[in-house]
C-alpha cells in the first residue's frame, strides 16, 4: 500500500448518492440508506429544536421562584412535551437512524441495508408518529409527563393523552423496523473477510442497540395499547378503583424505558470508540471487551428496571434486588470508559473537533454514570428521588453523553456525508460553548436536588433562586452552542472546502470510498483483510497525526 497525497482535492464530479436525482420524488421514494439517513437527519433536527424550544420556556419560567411566566397546567405541559419529543423523537433515533443508517452498510462493505424499502417505511412511520404527537401539541398539549403514569394518564388527565400516546406507539414501530434491519444486515450482508471480530465497534454498538429495540419496544407498544383501551373504553386495567394495578403499568413501562436509556447511549458509545482511535492514531485498547460490553449492556439492561420504582410501592425485597443488580450494569459501561482512556494513553492525540466531543463525552458520562450509582443505592435514592438530582443525572447521560457522541459523530463523518469539511475553528468554539453551557445548566441541578428541590414543580422557595438562575443562564449558552453547528454546517454545504475521500487518514472501510459515496457505496465490493483500527507505521494509516489535519484536509489515497 502506498500513500499518495493529492494537492487540490475537489468534489468528485462523477455521480454520487447526492447527484443521483434531484427531484423531490427521488428523495421521498428513495431506498438508498444514505438518503434515508439524511431524511432522518432533517426530521430529528426539527424535533430537536422544537423540544429545545420547550426547554427554553421551562428554564425561563424557572428564573423566578413564583413561576411567573405560565400557569401550573401550562408548565406541566411544557415539561411533558419537552420529554416526549426529546426522548422518542430525538434521542432514540438520533445516532442509529442517522449515523447508523448512513454508516453501517459502508462500514461492513455492503451496498445497502438488507431491507431498503423497510428502511424507507421506517422513516414514514416515524414521520406519521411525529405528526400525531405534533397534533397533540397543537391541540393543547399533554400534561402526564413523558412517562404516561397511570391512572392519571388513563383516567384523570384532561388532555389529548391518546393522541400523544398513539404518536409514541407508531414511532415505536419505526424503531423496531430499524433494529430489525440492522440485525439482519449485520448477519447477512458483511463483505468477504469482514468477520464478527473485525466489525467496527460502532457496528457492534448498533447491533446491541437493535437487540434492545426489537426486544423492548414491543412491550412499550402493548403497554400503550392497554392504556389506550383503558382510557377509551373506561375499563380498569391499571385503575385501582376498578381492581387494576398502577404498578403493573410502571413495571411494563420501565421494562422498556430503562433499556431505552441504552438505546440512546450505546450508539453514542459506538461513535466514541471510532473517534477515540482515529484521533489517538492507535488501535482501540481491548477491542473484544468493548465489543462484548455492548452486548452485556443490552442483555443486562433488561434486569434493572425496578430501580425506577423504589418509592412507588413495590416490595422492599424487589427494591433491594433491583438496587443490587443496578450496580452491576455499571460494569460494562466502566469497561468502555477504561478502554477509551487506555487507548488515549501514549496515543498521538490531536485535538480536532470530534476529539473534543470525545473528551466531553467521557467526562460528562463519567459524572452521569457515577451519580447513577448514587441513585442505585436504595437509601440515597429515597432521599433524592423525584428531585432535581434525578433530572441532572439523566441529563448528564442523555445530553452530556448521547448528544456529545451524536455531535462528535456528525462532525467526524460530515466530510463523508457531504463531501465538504466543516469550519474547524467555529466547530471547536461551538464544542467549547456546549461543554461550558451544559455544565452551567445541569451542575446546579445536582445541588438543587440534593438540597431538596422537587422536579416537575415550577414554584420553589426563594433560596433556590440563585442556582436556578445559573441553570437558566447555562441553558441560554447551551442554546447558542447548538445553534452554531446548525449555521456553520449549512454554510459548509456550499462553502466548505472539499474533503476528499479520507480527510482524517482513518482506517475504517467507510473512508475507502469516495466522499460523498456513490449510490452503490463501493465501486467493487471490497475484500476485508484487517479490522478498522489498523493504525501502524507503514500501513497507510500512520500513527502520527498527519500534517494534513488542517482545514480542508488533504486526502490520502490508498491503492
Amino acid at each position: 500500500m502506498t500513500t499518495i497525497p493529492i494537492d487540490e482535492p475537489r468534489i468528485e464530479q462523477h455521480s454520487n448518492y447526492l447527484t443521483n436525482g434531484y427531484s423531490v420524488k427521488s428523495w421521498l421514494l428513495t431506498t438508498d440508506h444514505k438518503r434515508i439517513a439524511l431524511l432522518y437527519l432533517i426530521t430529528i433536527t426539527l424535533f430537536f429544536f422544537l423540544g429545545g424550544a420547550f426547554a427554553v420556556l421551562i428554564r425561563l419560567d424557572l428564573m423566578t421562584p413564583a413561576g411567573d411566566l405560565m400557569r401550573d397546567e401550562t408548565y406541566n405541559k411544557m415539561f411533558t412535551m419537552h420529554g416526549i419529543i426529546m426522548v422518542f423523537f430525538f434521542l432514540i433515533p438520533a445516532v442509529p437512524a442517522v449515523l447508523g443508517n448512513f454508516l453501517i452498510p459502508l462500514m461492513i462493505g455492503a451496498r445497502d441495508l438488507a431491507f431498503p424499502r423497510i428502511n424507507l417505511l421506517s422513516w414514514y412511520v416515524f414521520v406519521i408518529g411525529g405528526l400525531f404527537t405534533l397534533a397533540s401539541v397543537a391541540s393543547g398539549g399533554v400534561d402526564t409527563g413523558w412517562t404516561f403514569y397511570t391512572p392519571y394518564s388513563s383516567t384523570y388527565a384532561n388532555t389529548h393523552v391518546v393522541l400523544a400516546a398513539l404518536g409514541v406507539f407508531i414511532t415505536g414501530f419505526s424503531s423496531i423496523l430499524t433494529g430489525l434491519n440492522f440485525i439482519v444486515t449485520v448477519h447477512t450482508m458483511r463483505a468477504p473477510g469482514m468477520t464478527w471480530f473485525r466489525l467496527p465497534l460502532f457496528v457492534w454498538a448498533n447491533y446491541a442497540t437493535s437487540l434492545i429495540m426489537i426486544l423492548g419496544t414491543p412491550v412499550l407498544a402493548v403497554t400503550i395499547v392497554l392504556v389506550a383501551i383503558e382510557r377509551i373504553f373506561g375499563v380498569g386495567i391499571f385503575d385501582p378503583k376498578l381492581g387494576g394495578d398502577p404498578l403493573l403499568f410502571q413495571h411494563l413501562f420501565w421494562f422498556y424505558s430503562h433499556p431505552a436509556v441504552y438505546i440512546m447511549i450505546l450508539p453514542s458509545m459506538g461513535v466514541i470508540s471510532e473517534l477515540v482511535t482515529c484521533f489517538s492514531r492507535k488501535r482501540i485498547f481491548g477491542y473484544g471487551f468493548v465489543a462484548v460490553s455492548s452486548l452485556l449492556i443490552a442483555v443486562y439492561g433488561f434486569l434493572v428496571w425496578g430501580h425506577h420504582m423504589f418509592v412507588s410501592g413495590q416490595s422492599v425485597y424487589a427494591g433491594m434486588i433491583f438496587s443490587f443488580l443496578s450496580f452491576f450494569v455499571a460494569i460494562p459501561s466502566a469497561i468502555k470508559v477504561f478502554n477509551w482512556t487506555a487507548t488515549l494513553y501514549k496515543g498521538s492525540i490531536s485535538y480536532q473537533t470530534p476529539m473534543l466531543y470525545v473528551f466531553g463525552f467521557i467526562g460528562l458520562f463519567a459524572i452521569g454514570g457515577l451519580t447513577g450509582l448514587f441513585l442505585a443505592t436504595l437509601a440515597v435514592d429515597v432521599h433524592v428521588h423525584d428531585t432535581y438530582f434525578i433530572v441532572a443525572h439523566f441529563h448528564y447521560i442523555m445530553v452530556g453523553g448521547v448528544v456529545m457522541g451524536y455531535l462528535g459523530g456528525i462532525h467526524f463523518w460530515w466530510p463523508k456525508i457531504t463531501g465538504r469539511m466543516y469550519p474547524e475553528g467555529w466547530a471547536k468554539l461551538a464544542a467549547l460553548i456546549i461543554f461550558v453551557g451544559f455544565n452551567l445548566t445541569f451542575f446546579p441541578q445536582f445541588l438543587l436536588g440534593y438540597l431538596g428541590m422537587p422536579r416537575r414543580y415550577h414554584v420553589y422557595p426563594e433560596e433556590f433562586q440563585i442556582l436556578n438562575v445559573m441553570s437558566s443562564a447555562g441553558a441560554s449558552i447551551l442554546g447558542v452552542g447548538y445553534l452554531l453547528p446548525l449555521v456553520y454546517l449549512f454554510w459548509s454545504l456550499r462553502w466548505g472546502p472539499a474533503a476528499g475521500p479520507n480527510p482524517w487518514a482513518a482506517a475504517g472501510l467507510e473512508w475507502q470510498t469516495s466522499s460523498p459515496p456513490p449510490t452503490e457505496n463501493f465501486e467493487k465490493i471490497p475484500i476485508v483483510t484487517q479490522e478498522a483500527y489498523a493504525y501502524s507505521e507503514g500501513s497507510g494509516f500512520p500513527v502520527s497525526p498527519e500534517a494534513d489535519y488542517k482545514e480542508g484536509g488533504s486526502p490520502v489515497v490508498h491503492s
Binding site: 462493505g109 455492503a110 451496498r111 445497502d112 441495508l113 438488507a114 431491507f115 431498503p116 423497510i118 423496531i176 430489525l180 434491519n181 440485525i183 439482519v184 448477519h187 447477512t188 450482508m189 463483505a191 468477504p192 426489537i214 426486544l215 423492548g216 419496544t217 414491543p218 412491550v219 407498544a221 402493548v222 403497554t223 395499547v225 392497554l226 383501551i229 373504553f233 373506561g234 375499563v235 380498569g236 386495567i237 376498578l242 381492581g243 387494576g244 394495578d245 403493573l248 411494563l252 421494562f255 482506517a507 475504517g508 472501510l509 475507502q512 452503490e520 465501486e523 467493487k524 465490493i525 471490497p526 475484500i527 476485508v528 483483510t529 484487517q530 479490522e531 478498522a532 489498523a534 494509516f541
Partner: protein, 228 residues
Amino acid sequence: MSIPSTAEHHTTTHPALAHHFNDLAQQREAGTLGMWTFLVTEVMFFGGAFTGYAYYRWKFPEAFQAASHHLDIVLGTINTVVLICSSLTMVLAVQGAQRGDRKRLVRFLLLTILLALVFLGIKAFEYHHKWVEGHVPGRYFRWDPQHDGAVSPGGAQLFYSFYFTMTGIHAAHMIIGIGVIGVLVWMALRGRFTPESYGAVENTGLYWHFVDIVWIFLFPLLYLIGRH
C-alpha cells in the same frame, strides 16, 4: 484495510434478485432471518399482554375462573381446529411454491383465507354473544353475582378486558395475514414465484404459524384453565 476485489455482482441476473444482494441465497437468508426477528418482536408484544393476564389471574383467581366459565368452549374448540387446519393448508401452499406448482399454491392459499374467515366469523359470533350477555367491559358491563357467580365484578371485568384485548389483537393479526395472503395470490397468479424464489410465501407461512401458535396459548389460558 481493503483491496478491491470480488466483482461477481449481478453475474446472476435473476429477475427476483434485488440490486443490493450478491445472490439469491443471500437474499433468501436475509428474508428468513428478517421474519424470525420480526416474530421475536411479536413474542415480546404478546408477552406484555400475557404478563398482565398472568398477574391478574393470580390476583383474582375466583373471578377469572367464574368469568372464564361464560366462554363457549365448543366454539373455542371448533375455532382451534379450524386454525390448525389453516396452518396445514399454508404448509401445502408453501410446498406448492417449492415445487413450482402454481395451481396448488393458489388453491391452498385461497383455502387458508377461507379457513381464516371461518375463524373470524365464529369469533365475531362469540363477541356478539358476549355483548348480549353484557360482558363487554366498560360502561355497559354487567355482572350479576347471583346469576353470574359471587366473585369480584372488578376481577371479572379484568378477565374480559384481557379476553377482548388479546383475542382482538390476535384477530387483527389474522386480518393482516389475510391481506398478505391475498397479495400472495395475486403475485402467484402473475407468476412471480419460482422454485428458486418464493421467500415471500415461505415467510408468510412462518407468520401464519406464529399467529396460530398464539391462539394455541390463548385457548387454554382463556377457555380451559379452571374448568371442571
